[in-house]
Symmetry: C2
Amino acid sequence: MTDRAEAIGIFDSGMGGLTVLRAIRERLPSEPLLYLGDTARVPYGSKSAATVERYAQACAGVLVKQGVKLLVVACNTASAYALPCLRAELDAPVLGVIEPGAQAAASQTRNGRVGVIGTAATIGSGAYQEALLRVNEDLRVVAQHCPLFVPLAEEGWTDGPVPRQVASHYLASMRQAEVDTLVLGCTHYPLLKTVIGEVMGDSVTLIDSAEATSAVVAEVLGGAGLVAPEGETARQRFLVTDSPQRFAEAGARFLGHELREVEWVDFS
Amino acid sequence: MTDRAEAIGIFDSGMGGLTVLRAIRERLPSEPLLYLGDTARVPYGSKSAATVERYAQACAGVLVKQGVKLLVVACNTASAYALPCLRAELDAPVLGVIEPGAQAAASQTRNGRVGVIGTAATIGSGAYQEALLRVNEDLRVVAQHCPLFVPLAEEGWTDGPVPRQVASHYLASMRQAEVDTLVLGCTHYPLLKTVIGEVMGDSVTLIDSAEATSAVVAEVLGGAGLVAPEGETARQRFLVTDSPQRFAEAGARFLGHELREVEWVDFS
């Protein structure tokens, strides 16, 4: 039987999923969180479906072994490729970031034109496009992969002429299609929100899946009777497959506070 | 006893090492070549020394198991971190790309000012800087990591204002130091040679380690009595840890001809 005192497990290819962790923490401060960043194999977004599925299964296996009551796939690429196999294999509920993001976008658009940007793998999978059309088959969906956004965000190169020109290049099709809502379909992209907003203009709503995902996490925990007992702010632990020290340093920039309890794991 | 009919083993984190394979093929057309691209774990250049060393040992293990008479570490990052441990563990001679590149640069410079560009890991290791000073301790060496060059090269985004601005940004310190020789210390960078050349100016010599490495391979094979019998163009095989089909497609662009015999392997 699942124990409601167990942690919510969250995994991502690297650091980007910390935006999802933060949103869950803000909404559900009593929930213990266990995060796994596969920093030794990052990125997933340029790799094949078979490899991403294999890595996602391995990540889920590590978290399940530690004991988690709910699994959040915080990586868009892993959500795009691995949700069906993870749901088939695991007893715990498994949530991805794509459906919540698609739901939020479909409810925000006024003109029915929605853009989605993500990694080559996420966009190539068609997962966002399908999820949006499942919510509303009349939507017009424009998708674009933006492979340079992740390295720019990781380098902290988030303003100035270079990111602006890269964004103008990638987002030209979105502007041409006159989307009024744009899904940031990669957990790194919120770091480039200012530049993306400048290129798209004030009238376009940017959708960050982290917020929408945390709302679904709260609903599912409630529905399954798995809400942690109210109390003090609960424990946060981090597992990584590359250097814990580097993750702690860069993660502190992501989260705005120190990361304690970062441990190395591997599954090879 | 080593068999001189065995292949030369070459490994890289991904595709970049194909530039080294091509240079060896051109110089030594009778040598059978066995290439391993660790495309499921690429890139190495942003990862920790411990992880790069572990992956390099695993790659070398796969090649040795297949039987190779000489091992070429075609990845600058793996050369920077893993040469000592590979040399200690393996019976076959092990060559990296850093010493040949440093030798070539030291012999080309006229004003004694040499620049080196590479991944964060390669530059952070200090391996090029040390190798250059071992050749000539009077050299003035300027080093700069250029993390966006790999994604730009992989996207084929090799000319126009974005790569030019990125290059101007990264190479400002090289221009200021008035280097007359610049080592392209990452196997992807030759793809950006035009833009790098424009920013640095005609008077600066660009050093691509692939060519220098192939000369050292020829010397070592000769010295060890391991030259393959003369004959027809020898077999080339490719092993990859992610999708063979993708590698074959992208590899054809790198090499300018079709890649047959691409197989999937893994070592996890």
